[in-house]
């Protein structure tokens, strides 16, 4: 059985409850930088996207600074997300069970996970978030550069800029929507958020949602009794 799912730093600790390390400190910092810049980008972007939201420029000290800062945040997002990508891409590769999972999406939404196959570190939904974000951010940075007139005006025609600005808007809308799903899932599935705050989840959480991953970790544990004895 391959151990694709196990990422550096993943580990399991016997105890009550069992604690499973899911994200290293590095990964978490990386994630929150990405998260922060994404939020700032969404806010500044939306401000320039719809008149009703122009007031949001106030958060950034006015329209001029918003216009000036948005692309720079975009650059930060791009590189920081790139960091996440390098960390997570392998664990997000498609698996057979992901198909089954998707087929039984109703059970997913209604929380009947006993009817789902055992999953690795990420389920298909998470993989969808990962890959769509990767794609959208690529689109956003490219189209973003095209309309970053302050430095790149002369490299494209106005017609190309027009296409870019439309693509940028659409991609941004999708990215924000994906982000909402991502955040909601984290809230809905209790016990998830600590993975990105403390870096670990409970064994139960892993057992319930990512059992295959848990097994792989457990399999790596040294055989024989553990030091701690459990009450019978």
């Amino acid at each position: 059985m391959s151990a694709d799912d196990i990422e550096p730093g993943d580990a399991i600790h016997r105890g009550h409850p069992v604690i499973v390390d899911r994200y290293t400190k590095g990964a978490r910092i990386n994630h929150w930088i990405t998260a922060a810049s994404l939020v700032l980008l969404a806010l500044s972007g939306l401000a320039l996207f719809h008149p009703k939201l122009f007031f949001l420029t106030g958060l950034f000290g006015g329209g001029q600074t918003t216009r000036m800062i948005h692309p720079w945040i975009g650059v930060v997002l791009f590189f920081s997300f790139f960091g996440l990508f390098l960390r997570f891409w392998k664990a997000n590769l498609w698996k057979r069970e992901d198909g089954t999972w998707l087929a039984r999406i109703r059970d997913v939404l209604t929380g009947h996970e006993e009817r789902l196959p055992e999953l690795g570190k990420y389920n298909a939904g998470q993989k969808f978030v990962f890959w769509s974000m990767s794609a959208l951010i690529l689109v956003l940075i490219t189209s973003g550069v095209v309309i970053w007139d302050q430095y790149f005006y002369e490299f494209t025609t106005i017609e190309q800029k027009r296409v870019a600005v439309l693509v940028h808007a659409i991609a941004a809308v999708l990215a924000i929507s994906v982000w909402i799903i991502h955040v909601y899932a984290a809230i809905w599935v209790r016990g998830t958020i600590r993975a990105m705050t403390r870096g670990s989840v409970t064994g139960g959480w892993a057992w319930r949602h990512h059992r295959k991953w848990l097994r792989e970790l457990a399999a790596k544990l040294p055989n024989g009794r553990s030091k701690t004895t459990h009450a019978k």
Partner: protein, 315 residues
């Protein structure tokens, strides 16, 4: 001669139009005034133009603009393009008329056309940074401009330029400050041959008819007025000796209109976009109401512990 533009007065005057006369305001919904002012227009008669650039000089001087001294690149067009300081520019084209085999030196004064349906205003995200007065003047408000360059993408004539110094958009204002006190634009006043005249739009159309008749009498069968309907007409119009092919005048767009891409971006996308986002959020909310939180049970925890202990397998 066409009645020239009067001398400026030095007495303080109340402006003849202002904020109360706006019919369009970028990124804002406003209620236009009940009564629209007389529509003004600048008529540029290319057939009378001698390409002297007096309009460029007058524009720089009146608007206190300082342009860079460039270099010669083998043509008469200087500067080589519109800039944030050069709001109007003579564009020279040497065209050999295939019918007569005579050389024609086509000289067009380029600059803001003051569209009735301004693409720049439509594209602008900053409330009030671009306004349109009921007399037709489309003006930029530098205090409100955020320098995003959307107006550049919105304009069908490639006119606005963003200053690299102030990061604000700039274009011809039709000398709104002069017009507001009963004056005409500085370029129109200066134009030696009255190739540029200024007045009410109707007056300009009538004047143009006379000019077109004269041109036809001189053998320019296709002489005509350039007042493109694609942008609802413009408040800067051209008399062209070859109105059937405006593109020979340094690429004056034939039937210009706001790019459908810009229309889509500023239209459907704007609303659909928010809808999609809203839907995503709503979905989560509703789902949470119905499905409730997805919690880890003690059974799960125990299962995990057992797995960790690995005892089950050895019994």
């Amino acid at each position: 001669m066409f009645p020239p533009i009067p001398n400026p007065t030095t007495k303080p005057q109340r402006p003849t139009f202002g904020a109360q006369d706006l019919i369009r305001r970028s990124a804002s919904t406003i209620t236009p005034p009940a009564q629209r002012q007389t529509e003004v227009a600048k008529l540029i008669d290319v057939s009378k133009c001698i390409g002297c650039k007096a309009c460029q000089a007058a524009c720089l001087e009146w608007n206190d603009l300082t342009e860079e001294v460039g270099v010669n690149v083998g043509v008469y067009d200087n500067p080589h393009d519109l800039t944030a300081n050069t709001l109007t520019l003579m564009r020279f084209t040497e065209w050999v008329n295939p019918e007569t085999d005579n050389l024609e030196w086509l000289i067009r004064k380029d600059g803001c056309m003051h569209c009735e349906d301004p693409g720049c205003l439509k594209a602008c995200p900053a409330p009030g940074a671009i306004v349109q007065y009921s007399n037709g003047i489309v003006d930029f408000d530098h205090d409100k401009c955020i320098g995003c360059g959307y107006c550049v993408k919105g304009c069908p004539f490639n006119i606005p330029r963003i200053s690299e110094v102030t990061h604000k958009a700039a274009k011809c204002t039709l000398c709104s400050d002069r017009v507001a006190v009963g004056q005409g634009p500085a370029c129109a006043k200066a134009c030696p041959t009255q190739a540029i005249v200024f007045g009410s739009k109707d007056e300009m159309k009538t004047h143009a008819e006379g000019r077109i008749a004269d041109l036809k009498s001189r053998g320019y069968a296709n002489a005509g007025l350039y007042d493109p309907p694609g942008v609802g007409g413009t408040h800067v119009m051209y008399v062209l000796h070859h109105a059937d092919k405006p593109e020979i005048y340094a690429g004056l767009p034939n039937n210009p209109r706001i790019s459908p891409i810009v229309e889509a971006w500023k239209g459907v996308t704007k609303y659909a976009g928010l809808a999609v986002i809203g839907f995503a959020a709503a979905f989560g909310f509703v789902h949470h109401l119905i499905a409730g939180p997805n919690r880890v049970s003690d059974a799960d925890e125990n299962a995990a512990e057992r797995l960790a202990d690995g005892r089950r397998w050895r019994s």
